[in-house]
């Protein structure tokens, strides 16, 4: 979803199917689905299946901001190790954002 590969309303594989496909314990897959449902990212319609929610709202926003901040900090330290200057680092980030907006390159 984050990569734009799944759109709201898209049907997701059943727990059974996904568990087979990924060779993962079905409880693990079921737990992941429950978590996503609780966060409002997916909707389970009884008897019809699991779908991407119409208005997926990313849950625990505050936590995720903090995680992002920690990740960026780690990358900033890495950039300093490579002796990049602040403007060079910002330039790189600007380039990446421009790529994503223009649809070029993978969103990882």
């Amino acid at each position: 979803m984050a990569k734009g590969l799944l759109a709201p309303g898209d049907k997701l594989p059943s727990v059974r199917e996904l568990s087979m496909d990924l060779t993962l314990n079905h409880n693990t897959v079921a737990k992941a689905y429950q978590e996503l449902e609780r966060e409002g990212v997916i909707e389970v319609l009884r008897g019809r299946g699991t779908f991407v929610a119409e208005h997926p709202s990313p849950g625990n926003l505050q936590q995720r901001y903090e995680q992002l901040r920690r990740d960026l900090r780690r990358l900033a330290v890495e950039a300093l190790h490579l002796q990049l200057t602040d403007p060079q680092v910002l330039e790189m980030l600007r380039d990446i954002l421009a790529d994503i907006h223009s649809g070029k390159g993978d969103a990882v």
């Binding site: 059974r16 568990s19 087979m20 990924l22 060779t23 993962l24 314990n25 079905h26 409880n27 693990t28």
Partner: protein
């Protein structure tokens, strides 16, 4: 609640050596239980006690709530054991081996058996002695699943399987557990399989279970941290059962801790200036738990 398998304080001795030492295991219907451990830890012996192939010297095993006596023919109808060293009739063809199984097990499902042989691509006309290790394992699994077992006991199930067949094999096991409520106990050294397949895991060492539980809870109870500790290791951690592993160069410590809530916060309280959680795969978790038990092997340089 009735467990599919319940071993209570089971002990098995061979002469002077204790192969299984007061082990308790509970496996629920539909659950996949992973048994991992050092070589010679007693995994196979424990599995053989569970299926009644060996009699315990102490404790007892209950299958589906019933005690497992010596003449448990009815109970054994519901149990299948798949292991690389399980004897087969070498001169039989695959077809004959399966017919023989069909005669022994009342719930034998010939149609299911046919489908299994087809998907696993095991030739029916080949003689058992002409099958490779991997092909024999496939035939064993086909035989086992054809009897519609309530309990599937697997000893190193991935032995001799190529990656494509292994995936198929693991899918069949998952399907059996999730779709038919079959309880599965599996002893293996393939920790990446354990990580994906099982919901409960036990680490064995020298006949005992040294750590066991829900896989997610177990993973959550052990963490690896990189910490800068200007004042050194706090005294409450030294020689603590919580400390599985420590290594430091200067002020930078690598700590592996178990069963400590809010480890990062507690380390900051004692002056840690930097704390980072490092992720670990199950392989590493296993090594640290074993290290704490004193199981270490050093590298050698051969000249």
């Amino acid at each position: 609640m009735t467990f599919s398998v319940e071993a209570v304080d089971v002990t098995k001795r061979f002469g002077a050596s204790v192969a299984v030492d007061g082990v308790s295991v509970q496996v629920q219907e539909g659950s996949i239980y992973g048994l991992v451990g050092a070589n010679g830890a007693g995994k196979t012996t424990l599995l053989r006690l569970v299926i009644g192939m060996l009699q315990p010297d102490g404790g007892e095993v209950r299958l589906f709530g019933e005690r497992l006596p010596r003449d448990a023919a009815a109970l054994r109808q519901q149990v299948q054991y798949v292991a690389p060293d399980m004897e087969l009739f070498r001169t039989f063809t695959v077809q004959e081996m399966l017919r023989y199984t069909g005669l022994l097990y009342e719930h034998f499902d010939a149609e299911r058996c046919d489908r299994l042989l087809d998907v696993l691509q095991v030739s029916r006309t080949r003689r058992v002695r002409h099958l490779s290790t991997g092909m024999k394992m496939q035939m064993r699994l086909a035989m086992a699943l054809s009897t519609r077992p309530q309990l599937l006991v697997l000893d190193e199930p991935a032995t001799g399987l190529d990656p494509v067949v292994k995936r198929q094999f693991l899918q069949l096991i998952l399907q059996e557990a999730a779709g038919y409520g079959t309880a599965v106990i599996m002893a293996t050294h393939q920790l990446e399989d354990v990580e994906r397949l099982v919901d409960h895991v036990a680490f064995m060492y020298q006949g005992r279970i040294v750590k066991a539980g829900d896989l997610e809870a177990l993973r959550g109870s052990i963490c690896k941290l990189q910490v800068v500790l200007p004042q050194g290791l706090p005294s409450w951690l030294e020689d603590s059962p919580h400390l599985l592993h420590t290594h430091h160069s200067g002020q930078l410590y690598t700590l592996v801790l178990q069963d400590i809530a809010d480890a990062a916060a507690r380390l900051r309280e004692v002056g840690a200036t930097y704390v980072e959680t490092v992720s670990m795969d199950l392989d590493e978790v296993f090594q640290y738990v074993m290290e704490k038990e004193g199981y270490v092997r050093n590298g050698i340089l051969l000249s």
